[in-house]
Amino acid sequence: MSESSLRILVVDDERAIRRFLKVSLGNQYEVLEAVNGEGTLRAVAAEHPDLVILDLGLPDMDGVEVTRRLREWTTIPIIVVSVREREDDKIAALDAGADDYLTKPFSVGELLARIRVAVRRSTRPDNEPVFQIGDLTVDLARRLVTVRGEPVTLTPTEYDILRTLVQHAGKVLTHRQLLRAVWGTAYETETHILRVNVSNLRRKIEPDLARPTYIVTEPGVGYRLRISDNTRGAVWKERSGSP
């Protein structure tokens, strides 16, 4: 599938931002526009775009609500772009079903990288058995994890966490989503169990504990398995560093 044929729906009530996105994305993708929640729902149903870039602060309804409504009937990748930087807002959007969350302002490079990851994931066949990043290989069919070719022994829980991350590689998984996937709904608030297990998992697979390369912590939100990207800009940061 050629990327230039992909159609992206840009939803923002600010004309300046729509224009900037249209110009930035226009030479690679076909860009559709919507200015509010109702328009978005109609456009997705009528035009079947391949991806939605969604602002949270829409005039008629909240972006989180738009996400929830879309998820009722479609698995279309949704990248939320917002000035809201509080973790609660991110979690709300991600839990509602958004694939990624980007805080405004962002660089075009960052946005393009996220779009590529989201598109790749949505078009990847589910039964892809082997995942590889750097020195880490995960063979889902054989439940085998190796680092630099050496097999690593994981506890069932650790393996389940890794598997869940691999299945959503590149996507931020909230604590709640991970806990529900691995332990079930009864445990979805027991964040510390997750932390301990992720910590143990990292000890087994990460080359440098102080600077994890595979499992990246999204502070206050959750974890993401980083997938390699050719550009340096693919370091997926929420914020371009503080002060």
Partner: protein, 891 residues
Amino acid sequence: MTSDISRPDPDQLLAHVQADEKAAKRGKLKIFLGYAAGVGKTYAMLEAAHQRREEGLDVVIGYIETHKRIETEELVSGLEIIPRKRIEYHGVELTEMDVDTILARHPRLVLVDELAHFNAPGSRHPKRYQDVEELLTAGIDVYTTLNIQHLESLNDVVAQITGTLVRETIPDSVIDSATEIELVDLPPDELLNRLREGKVYIPEQAARAIEEFFRKGNLTALREMAMRRAAERVDDQMRAYMQTRAIPGPWHATERLLVCISPNTLGERLVRSTRRLADELNAEWFAVYVETPEHERLSQAGRDHVAHTLRLAEELGARSKILPLSQTAPGVAGTLLQYARKHNVTKIIAGKPLRPVWQEWLRGSIVEQLIRRSGNIDLHVISSTDAGKLPAEEAVWQPHRPYLRYVWSILLVAAATFLSALLGREISPTNLVMVYLLVVVISAVYLGRGPAILASILGVLSFDFFIVPPQLTFSVSDAEYLLTFSGLLVVGWVISYLTARAREQADAAERREADTAALYALSRDLAAADGMDAVLKVLQTQIEQAFGREVVVYLADGGKLQPNALAADVQPGETEIAVAQWAFKNGETAGRGTNTLPGAEFRFMPLKTARRTVGVLGVKPKESESILSPDQRRLLEAFASQSAQAIERVQLAEQARQIELLKAAEKLQNALLNSISHDLRTPLVSITGALSALEDETTLEASARHSLVETAREEADRLNRLVGNLLDMTRLESGALQVKHEPCDVQDLIGAALGQMEDRFLERQIRVDVSNDIPLVSMDFVLIVQVLINLLDNALKYSLDNSPLDIHAGLHYGEIQVAVMDRGIGIPPEDLPRVFDKFYRVQRPEQVTGTGLGLAISKGIIEAHGGRIWASEREGGGAIITFALPLEVSV
């Protein structure tokens, strides 16, 4: 001259306006004045009340005595009656007007019968007119009844006419302050008829006395007094009206009278006479007592008498004043005249001297001095019908020194006689007189006047008996000795008088000195006291020392008294607080030893300054029997006034401090605005500049374009960081920041922080050392990541691009410490504590950009976690910033 007279005096006009204003807030008092019981005052009052009610006024009965008269009772039945308060006194149940209920009910008009009534002990005020005063102050109109014989200034005249002394009296000022007086009149013959028909209520036990009272002559005299009094009122009102409207008329030149109070019973008579004279002249009047050294010699009763007379004068409408003996104008007369001239007094009223003529002759009469030196001031001398006893003189003549002193003086004379007898053979008797003189002087100095006089008399006798030939007889051989005797006697008396007088003056000076010293100590300590607590402490200690009394202070806030007693070891009860409230509200001393609520344990004095009442000072004697003397009361009042000023000073200082703080906050805000506007604009300048340059694409080389774009991008990032910081700071300061504690892995923490800053560490070597023994630590992960990022950012900015950074994490005494260390320029030692201040930047590297908020935010976050953060110098150069979080969080 005429025009001069007709112009209203501005002072008087002002007084009228002020009186009007005061009266507007106060309730109006209407007195139904009669000359005897049975003239129909109560009936008239009730009728007027019904009329008011028909006009739509809210009328209630506060207290009424119908004496079971049918017509009266019929009138009462139509009106709302406030139930009386029951007061138990010595097993007898008495009923009194319930002031509190009336105040709470707050009607427009209340009827109160028998204004001159004395309340049962245990009531709020001893006298009913004081209750009425309080009702008026609360803005309630009052109708009341009064018989003329209860008027204080007429008290003695009534007693002279009727032979009955009326005990229940009210001050004249009450009737003067009444808005309206209605004379309820009935010709004496008709009244006597009514009496015979049994229509006048007479208490059985007093029936005889009252029959004596109800004689036609008496009644006519009383009636005349009542009418005259009412007419005087009308006259006054007329005059006041004419004055405000500048209507020309026969004005009295304003007279001012001064009555000299002396410590004898004539005082009361003097005061009453002066009051009548003042009334007739429509004059202002003063009652003045000059405190001479003799005042200190007065018996307690004598001093009380002076205080009583002065109080009476005040009740009768005078301004009373105690003057110390003037330094510039000698003598009592001089002091009086000086004061009189200063206050434009036109007439001085003095009592006829009561001393024996020879004393006048010896000491000089004050009245005579006044006459001689008064100049243009008239002098009225009032006589006394009965030469009242002189408690003061009595006190002087009584041997109030212990008898031991007289024994001593006798012994001294005996010793002198013995010595003289021994020496008598060698020395002539005339010279031996010196030995006796010595004894008299010693007695005068050490034993007082009485013993000295005794010594001189005994001295003469023993000299005559034992020394002068022929010895052992009182007969004298040589007439020359008679001169020696009289010389010895006179010299003895004079010396004893002078010495004793000097001594008494010294005593008086000492007492005043002690008072002054106490006041000085108070004001010195108050001046040194800073802060309310210190002031109250000083007050407490000083009053305890000077008066032996416990102290409480209530402070006022926003016109209300705070219920918490300060400077007190125990909190006084509800009733005491109510008394304090009363004293505060009315601005008068109340409680123990006063006319208001005398049953209280404490005596409460309002702490007044020139501008307001700052609170109430309460004192309670440690021994329940102790009573304040008038001198002590004066001193205590001086204390109260001093403390009021000190308290106000502290309060003003506190206000000033608050304003200072506000100013500081404002200054900080200005700094913030300046910094923000600078920091926001600078990146915008670069961005706008770069973009406008890019618009003109043709002239730019590719590399230049690239550099412009990079600049714009970097500046935009900087702007974004700044906005983020400002938001964080705002959240932190507005208290919107919520710390969500959860167990976190420190390793993960550092990893997350480094991960977020990855693209800025490309050239840097970063060494991370996390000790293995760190458990999960409770913290808000996101916020602490933010702190770490801020610290790393700081370290990056202030160190060279190729220098390494170190991060250490470890356990230290129950807390986890994370340190970020650089090899940069370091922080000047004097700035170490300041780096966490808002907008503080180490100024040296010019190229370093930032808001100066990063570390301040970090500090805020760490402190919200109950941790701490500090900066230190690193050995070998560079800076260390460390934060510590407690392992155990008590949430």
